[in-house]
Point group: C2
Chain length 206, copies 2
DNA sequence: AGTGAAGTATGACAAGTGTCATATAAATCC
DNA sequence: GGATTTATATGACACTTGTCATACTTCACT
């Protein structure tokens, strides 16, 4: 199984989806963008576009969760989060605020299926599956953040809420930065999150 | 000028965009959804789909900013924000987490223009204009939140950062809720935001 | 009554969409 | 080395998209 073509397609799809959204990314765009053979797309993704989107979401999930976990492990919750935000910042700046998060794209820009006859019935199921995947990725990120906070002594209920806040606010802030073509929102949120987390952690050791 | 047709189209476009995204919302969808005459769309929106999207963004902007400002004025920053979040929660629940924010949709799901010959040049400008509008709406919401916080004595730099955090985290959380088909993330973030704001405000009166 | 504008209806256009059937090329295995 | 799976190529399909030209209706105003 030649997987480099397949992997290039998945990575390219994730990238394009993060920039323009799900429906603005056609399969022909993906093969153009990645210089992969168009004839292979049906071969590597027999279930068609929904499958490609699904794999792109899972790919993007790992692409974030692995460095996130590493940063939190090596630097602790606060410094690790700052490093993670910094990597988002770099991505925004180097793409002139064109690239975003493909998982958010799936949550917001729902895939509208084939024009064919089967219609509504399958589309709803396919869309639900994609939402499940996106939700799984978000949950994964939250779990990683949660573990880091708990490791520093924060009680579970508070840590869970803060993990949700961190993931949600970063997702939202990245979107704000793209709209503003500026990293200012991310810098502001970064500062506030640091304050909030260090406040919360300082209360536990008292 | 018969504006009820026009207004129905704008409101319907905003609603559909908030549920499925920009590119998944076709003009034919809008006239189907709003039971408005298809022949009129070119009449009311001579600049075509970009114009309809633009008006939908501004419409959605006011639809949020007006009740937000009212709630903050009447109830103060903390209780007002809680009331505002509660209204978001209602919208999510009553639409079984299908509806979201059309402004976020514009920021994430970029409009891909007509298939015609003019191509790239105009598209980039049109997309930039839409991003400007979305950014203006986000900035408006932040300004309203900022004013409420300053009214309670918070110094400007901190208030600005917190206003950004509030807008970004609510946008992100609504997306999380849609992916999870659950209001839990919003409830968690609501609780944390309350804690954060009351902490920040209590430090000013000391 | 009549005139002109505002609104509505309908169909055609060029182009793009995902998918599929078929055909060729490459690589793997006995 | 031949056979069989894997991969790539190409073109056709049924359909949707935004836009436009053209017609018909409605309505206000003089």
């Amino acid at each position: 199984m030649n997987s480099t073509t397949r992997n290039k397609m998945i990575a390219g799809a994730a990238d394009l989806m993060s920039r323009r959204g799900v429906n603005a990314t056609s399969m022909r765009d993906v093969v153009r963008y990645t210089a992969t053979p168009r004839g292979s797309i049906g071969h590597h993704f027999p279930d068609g576009k929904p499958q490609l989107i699904a794999e792109a979401v899972m790919f993007a999930g790992k692409q974030v969760s692995i460095p996130l976990e590493k940063a939190l492990n090596e630097l602790g919750a606060i410094a690790g989060l700052k490093a993670f935000v910094a990597s988002w910042r770099r991505r925004l700046v180097t793409t002139t605020f064109e690239a975003g998060c493909p998982v958010l794209a799936v949550a917001v820009d729902h895939y509208v299926g084939e024009p064919s006859d089967k219609a509504e019935a399958l589309d709803a199921a396919a869309q639900d599956h994609l939402l499940d995947l996106a939700n799984g990725v978000f949950a994964d990120w939250q779990k990683i953040m949660l573990a880091a906070l708990r490791r520093e002594g924060l009680p579970a209920p508070r840590a869970k809420r803060l993990a949700t806040l961190v993931v949600a606010s970063i997702e939202g802030t990245v979107a704000l930065c793209r709209a503003a073509r500026s990293a200012l929102p991310l810098d502001q949120v970064d500062q506030e999150l640091e304050l909030i987390l260090s406040d919360a952690l300082s209360q536990t050791t008292k």
